[in-house]
Symmetry: C2
Subunit: 63 residues, 2 copies
DNA sequence: CTCTAATGTAAAGCGACCTTGTCATTATGA
DNA sequence: TCATAATGACAAGGTCGCTTTACATTAGAG
């Protein structure tokens, strides 16, 4: 499950900590998801989609 | 996190076992998700979206 | 160069997701 | 009625998602 988190975060000029704060999760979680170490839960995926104003499918990609 | 699994499954005339087979998960998992006992992982949510030919947002709803 | 922000990673712990196995209940059909 | 299918639920066990704490590395500002 690839994702475009790093790019989207950069477009917004946010640090991993900034994004973590907006999502209400730890910086390590953002880093781990961004680096592909694991996938977010579905609720967190929805939160990420909300933060960026995009559908989940525009952020997370099948492989 | 509400979902429209029961309705969609009924529309297709599938039993929980039928859907589980298509998703490659156990019948108990389908039942638990359908009953709202827990949310699917993101990869499973994508599989469900694929099976029904719908975007994730059309199946799973924020609360 | 020095200080600080940002990032990457690791460990331990907890709860969520998913499994197999099992049992109970309800509905349907021969 | 009897057999079978479908659903709901629970327990035990494994892995994943997320936490806090901690430390190392990299990059930029001054």
């Amino acid at each position: 499950m690839n994702n475009r988190l790093r790019v989207l975060r950069a477009e917004h000029g946010w640090s991993q900590q900034d994004l973590a704060d907006r999502l209400g999760v730890s910086r390590q979680s953002v880093n781990a998801i961004e680096k592909g170490r694991y996938d977010p839960s579905l609720p967190l995926a929805f939160s990420i989609a909300d933060v960026f104003g995009l559908p989940i499918e525009a952020i997370f990609l099948r492989d």
